[in-house]
Amino acid sequence: MRFRLPQRINLVSTILWGLRIVVAVLVLAGSWATLSSGKLSPDAWRELVVFGIAQGSVYALIALGYTLVYGVLFMINFAHGDVFMTGAMTAFFVARNFGESGFLNANPIVALLIIFAVSMLTSMLVAIALERIAYRPLRRAPRLVPLITAIGASLFISNSIRGIYGEQSQTYPSIDALQGRLDLFGIPILKTQALVIVSAVVLMIALVYFVERTRTGRAMRAVSEDKDVAALMGINVDRIIVTTFAVGGLLAGAAGILYALVFNEVDWFMGFLPGIKAFTAAVLGGIGNIAGAMLGGLTLGVLESVGPFLLLGGANVPSPNQLRDVIAFTVLVLVLIFRPNGILGRSEPGR
């Protein structure tokens, strides 16, 4: 039974319409001003879009973790951003070691694979511990309880990492083989960005294969349909839930390394914003929906990279890039308010 709000609340609908109009006007006016001023060359735009896709694929990988967990537990794993951070922070030390010993440049593929593995395993372990310690005992609790727990866990993890590894940000060593650009159909793309996009695509294909084709994947879908029925069918629900967290953790760990490839710097607080943005992406695509998470991630990534310049560049707003987070958050707020089921979302589960 869905709760229906009355149609005739004037104050509320006035405010909502006001919000719609303000946003529409700002977007139209801003874009018009920028495009007519011709401040940015087509090359610059293309650069922004490619960067957006790269960063969007990182968001998409994290978003998959939110969506998978939401699919089986109908809860927002608020600490998922920190799962992502833990992997990247831990693997940094391996990467630094490889960088100093020269192994990284001598054998970039093997080195990268090891770094990926370390990050993914770390994130996976954190995700499993999180589920086991913080969420499992609360599975039947009222909805706000696991959410508050998740917020607490997020703070706990990030600040533990801050204590253990120190609070300064770390710079991943650069890889010679990944310097420079690649010519793709006549479009020059930074090699790192190409690697990021390709890895993300590979991982997503692997995930889809896992969910659609393997036994465990099918069990996962059964659990997300109905836990009780799944249990009756002989599925070990607890194990499937842990597996879901583990898979989400693996993807988040991989996303951590991709993030490091794009942005170079990692620190204990890096989980917060990408975490929220990935959540936005998941909702944008329709939470609980795997394809939606990917689509949402890419959309948000591009919006966030192009948006500040497109909307604010022409209006002579000083340092528009400062406001990129505002764009992401505004998208979040607007999507949740006006389209909580997202682009591809299935209808909301019962309350």
């Binding site: 509320v12 909502l16 609360l138 696991p146 959410l147 706990f156 990030s158 400062q322 505002v326």
Partner: protein, 584 residues
């Protein structure tokens, strides 16, 4: 042959030992031990770092002895339980010992930045590796056994020991409060007896141990006595007792800054600001069940509006007097509450949390941005907010001399507002409004069908919460004399949430206690500042797992007037009491 320890028990003991070991390693790696290893509890005897380390095997030993809850449990002898404790402690100690040995041999600081040579020296008692390992393991085992011993000993002894230890730790923690004040008031003799260059003296430690133990032993009978007296008293005098209690509390709050000196007053001002925030958020989260993670936005709006209206240096530059500006600020706050509340009305609980978080972050980024710098001052903020309160109060009332400066002055208006907010919130919670909120929190659609306009009540909760938050922001701006966007990050929201969760959602005494514990205590432990958020996170998780109703749960209103009725109860349906049909 009777088994010494069954397989299952062995597994449990091993698990607890492993958890304890991880906890010990965690404490060392995260830096807590390093931070507290030089903070004396009893000078020359024990430091806070050591207390923390020892607490782990102690608790683990206690837990292990508690363990076998199955049928065989009754057959377990006390010595077997102590053995469990010992084993658990040995496991934890041995793991830490191995870690210390390894870390002393290999430099791990490149990764684990907190494992410094001084820390290792502290952990190994300065002994060479092999001996250090034995010492740590032994100490762990001993403490674990001690924990188990506590469990098997009679309740009174257990309580006495616990309370004695808490008394000593507490007295050493409040040294920064007490000692300067004692010296200032010329009680140097007392101060010298109790404290010795950071930490308690041995004599004082023994004294507090005894006091703590005696207090615990006397507590139960005294409590019973009070309870019985109060229960026996008629309703009227019970009311009077309560009124007296509140009166005493008020007087205590009033004279506190007088006795405590400026440092505590400063802490109290901070506690008061957060208390006010928490009282406001409590309406939204505790009463109405709307998890608002962007509460800091209202705090910021209150501070910035105050700055804009009262500071002559602001972009508005009109420099209104504070008390003229305040109603405008609160009105603006209420409007902001409605503006933020209206769009999120329809959202489910968890989405609402994230959207409000988004609003909070948008507010912060906007306040910080260069784009709005001409109006809001960007990163530099707004300076020169005049305080409406006199810089010092000097009153001679014959018998009493009241003197206050700086934070001591601000203390009074802040707590006046807190008291007002608490009273208002209390009245609301016991009215049909509070009930409607609670009903909405419990089941929104049933509440609506029962006649509660959920739209209106949500908006009301948001508006009232926003107004209270803004008030706190206004006082904060005045206290600082300036506002900076950096003061309004998401951690303010989280801190306030932690205060409410710790105290108990919907419980006003809980909120007050929560603010004192979570805001006040860290101020006393300077070393702690860095670990504040870590602890808040831990508090949120632990409370949800162990005691979701909070330390002081929201007591459902007792009906003093109707206790007599409960005698004449009827199990059957044929009572002869038929109510009148109400006028409608």
């Amino acid at each position: 042959m009777a088994e010494l320890i069954s397989r299952r028990q062995l597994r449990r003991v091993a698990t607890i030992g492993a958890v304890a070991a991880v906890a010990l390693l965690y404490l060392c790696m995260v830096g807590l031990i390093e931070a507290f290893k030089d903070r004396n509890v009893v000078t020359g005897v024990i430091t806070l770092g050591a207390v923390m380390l020892l607490a782990v095997p102690l608790i683990a030993g206690y837990r292990a002895a508690l363990l076998p809850r199955d049928a065989s449990a009754s057959r377990l002898a006390a010595w077997q339980r102590v053995l469990f404790g010992l084993v658990v402690g040995l496991i934890a100690g041995a793991v830490l010992g191995v870690f210390v040995v390894i870390a002393s041999a290999v430099d791990v600081r490149g990764v684990l930045v907190r494992i410094s040579p001084p820390l290792l020296e502290f952990l190994s008692f300065g002994l060479p590796s092999a001996l250090a390992f034995l010492a740590i393991t032994g100490l762990g085992g001993l403490t674990g056994a001690l924990g188990a011993l506590l469990l098997v000993s009679p309740v009174r002894i257990r309580n006495a020991v616990t309370s004695a230890v808490i008394a000593v730790v507490f007295m050493s923690m409040i040294e920064p409060l007490l000692r300067p004040r004692l010296e200032q008031l010329d009680y140097t003799a007392i101060s010298d007896f109790v404290y010795k260059s950071h930490g308690l003296t041995e004599a004082a430690a023994i004294l507090f141990l005894v006091v703590g133990a005696v207090a615990a032993i006397l507590w139960q009978p005294a409590n019973d006595l009070v309870r019985r007296t109060v229960d026996a008293a008629p309703v009227e005098s019970r009311r009077r007792i309560r009124r007296w209690a509140i009166g005493v509390l008020v007087v205590a709050v009033l004279i506190l800054p007088q006795v405590s000196g400026t440092f505590l007053a400063q802490v109290a001002v901070l506690v008061g600001l957060y208390m006010l925030l928490a009282l406001g958020l409590n309406i939204v989260v505790g009463y109405a069940g709307l998890l608002d993670l962007g509460y800091v936005a209202f705090f910021a709006v209150g501070a910035y509006l105050t700055a804009l209206l009262t500071s002559p240096n602001s972009s508005l530059g009109i420099g209104l007097p504070f008390f003229v500006a305040l109603p405008i600020v609160m009105l603006g706050a209420g409007m902001t509450g409605l503006l933020i509340g209206a769009p999120v009305l329809r959202l489910r609980g968890d989405y609402l949390a994230i959207v409000t978080l988004g609003f909070g972050e948008i507010a912060r980024v906007l306040f910080e941005s260069d784009a709005l710098q001409p109006w809001l001052g960007g990163v530099q903020g707004i300076l020169g907010i005049p305080s409406p309160f006199p810089p010092r109060i000097d009153l001679d009332l014959g018998t009493m001399h009241i003197f206050a400066t700086g934070p001591q002055v601000l203390y009074y208006p802040i707590f006046a507002f807190c008291a007002l907010a608490a009273v208002f919130a209390y009245r609301l919670s016991n009215s049909r409004i509070g009930r409607a909120w609670n009903a909405m929190r419990e089941d929104e659609s049933v509440a609506e069908a029962t006649g509660v306009s959920t739209v209106n009540y949500k908006l009301l909760a948001f508006a009232l919460g926003a107004t209270t938050g803004c008030l706190s922001g206004a006082l904060f701006a005045v206290q600082l004399g300036s506002v900076f966007p950096g003061s309004f990050d998401v951690f303010v929201s989280i801190t306030v949430l932690a205060v409410i969760i710790l105290g108990g959602m919907g419980s006003i005494p809980g909120v007050i206690l929560g603010a004192i514990v979570l805001i006040g205590l860290p101020e006393l432990l300077r070393e702690f500042v860095e670990y504040r958020v870590l602890v808040y996170g831990g508090v949120l998780v632990a409370m949800m797992l162990l005691r979701p109703e909070g330390l002081i749960p929201n007591r459902n209103r007792q009906r003093e007037l109707h206790e007599a009725d409960s005698e004449e109860e009827q199990e059957t349906l044929d009572g002869d009491l038929m109510p009148q049909r109400g006028t409608s």
